[in-house]
Symmetry: C2
Subunit: 343 residues, 2 copies
């Protein structure tokens, strides 16, 4: 009982006195097999507890029904929501996900790429590390025409779809909002200017200033790794600025929260002295006091869209060249951290 042999299509065929070819076709619902035989076969399959052998099939068909995912780290609210969305779609479409973390290390990203290539994933969903410059490690996929989709932290790669929000616009709105609240000396906390998301947010911020005829100041840009600790460090620098800035726009809620807490400990009042706007709509944004104004960034939805899009490509129901960029809706959520007085 415990070591029962697996049931194969040969067993089914033998029992019914038909050929394996017919069994194989019947199980795939091939119209060439008659309804009667199909029924006989599928009934017996259930009865004998047959389950198809993915390896044999994959070996034969040269497909894996597996999607590779490479992300910087999984344990952030945003990214785990993305993964949840991907899992949701993939499972319902019969695909498996192989998830690997680069931990913000380019070498690990390259290593993961190789692993996934050797696993012969059917497609790849990628969000890059802060520092990835060269995209050469994706060449093997391109050459073999394995579809590749970037999301969130994307890169310009010919023939690859990108899934994003309009970071420029989000930052523009955030900054404009701060200005509309009477703020003029607006610091921007961001990460390395290698990645689209941070470049675009900075540009949006700059444009908002320009449109309101507020001069841009290089020393108001603080670059870090956007961790909570980086936020606390930035707080010390902000504290030293003369005159004290009256607002901070942060490219990530966690970092914003770290900065807010540190400033509050220094006796600075939020939003009276300094207003804050974050990014991502992380759960902490409704816990910190005052609640943090932020940009809603739909992670779960982004994961779903990415997976759905890739699977559509794989099924041939969409052409990878037809859609090159998908922009998801995002919006500014107003909370107390940035509003000068509540209505």
């Amino acid at each position: 009982m415990s070591n029962e042999k697996e049931v194969t299509i040969y067993d089914l065929a033998r029992k019914l006195n038909i050929s394996v070819a017919t069994v194989s076709r019947a199980l795939k619902d091939d119209p060439v097999v008659s309804k009667k035989t199909k029924k006989k076969i599928s009934d017996l399959a259930v009865e004998m507890g047959y389950r198809s052998n993915h390896f044999a099939r994959n070996l034969r068909t040269q497909r894996t029904n597996t999607i590779g995912v490479i992300i910087p780290r999984i344990n952030s609210y945003f990214m785990s929501s993305v993964i949840a969305g991907m899992e949701n779609i993939a499972t319902s479409e019969g695909y498996n996900l192989i998830i690997s973390q680069s931990s913000e290390s380019v070498e690990k990203e390259v290593a993961n790429t190789i692993t996934l290539f050797n696993n012969r994933v059917d497609g790849l969903l990628v969000s890059l590390t802060y520092d990835t410059d060269s995209l050469a490690h994706f060449d093997p996929f391109i050459r073999k025409k394995v579809p590749l989709i970037f999301f969130d932290r994307t890169a310009d790669q010919k023939d690859c779809t990108c899934i994003l929000i309009n970071n420029w616009k989000a930052a523009y709105e955030a900054t404009t909002h701060l200005i509309s609240q009477g703020r003029r000396r607006i610091v921007h906390l961001t990460a390395t200017q290698k990645r689209n998301v941070y470049i675009d947010r900075l540009e949006g911020y700059k444009q908002a200033l320009a449109d309101q005829r507020i001069p841009f100041r290089e020393d108001y840009i603080i670059v870090g790794n956007l961790s909570q600790e980086a936020g606390a460090e930035a707080a010390s620098r902000i504290r030293e600025m003369q005159p004290l800035p009256d607002a901070v726009f942060v490219a990530n809620d966690n970092c914003a929260v770290g900065c807010m807490i540190a400033l509050k400990q220094m006796g600075i009042r939020i939003p009276e002295d300094i207003a804050f706007v974050g990014f991502n709509n992380d759960p902490v944004s409704t816990v910190v006091e005052p609640n943090l104004t932020t940009i809603n960034y739909p992670g779960y939805e982004m994961g779903q869209v990415a997976a759905r899009n890739l699977i559509d490509h794989l099924n041939g129901s969409s052409n990878i060249h037809s859609t090159n960029t998908i922009i998801l809706r995002s919006e500014l959520i107003l909370r107390e951290s940035s509003v000068s007085r509540q209505p």
Copy 2:
């Protein structure tokens, strides 16, 4: 160039005028092949860009090098940390992870189990839903002797390893701490009493009361789904209690935070009027004001241990019968939410 055929061991063999058997053995570093041939072969493999075909190998060896993971939801800080830990170990050991979410639905858990069984995973790592009663859906794995490890939300299943913290002790310490701060009317927010973690925490809480001769009150136990919203609802019920409780021990930080925020809005002071202790050491616990005393629950480490343990079983380097339960260290972290006056 773009449609180059995959290089197989046959290609290598032909080029070197030797048999595929030798090539196969050489690539596995089988000592029976001479050093000289091995070198020739591995050099050529690199040169020609050979990569082994997992499906052919799996088909032949009947192993998949894949581990299945079933969890309630991935997008919580604790669970995404667990996954990160698992990914870390699995990747370094050459295993892949297939992660599936049950979303707290027993039906989805069963469906995922079937999917993973059909995927022929080598082993399974499971954290159960709130409501899973029967474990019958795991029988196919047991029968085929596929190792099965439960973590966090575990169940008694013969021959299965469980990985946990000592929930009883953690709750006992948390409650004792509250009592030591002069609290007597301690409410406990928890989840369904079907799962070990919540049962054990309640028992620890009860025992701590008993040891301090404080009568247990059934109406101080509030059962919910431990979401932030459930915390807010609980706050309303707590508010109505006469006399007002003076402490709350919550089985989850997120829920604790929801409850604290709601109570604060009602004008109740924390910790003066009501002290709080949470569970998990989620990042929000250091953001909420006052910072939340909690139990440190090492998610990343738990994921690593679970994966390590399973892989050791699979490699035969450990016997599944030898270790039945692994208890990880946890500890009470004191913060302002429960300490009556700071030193």
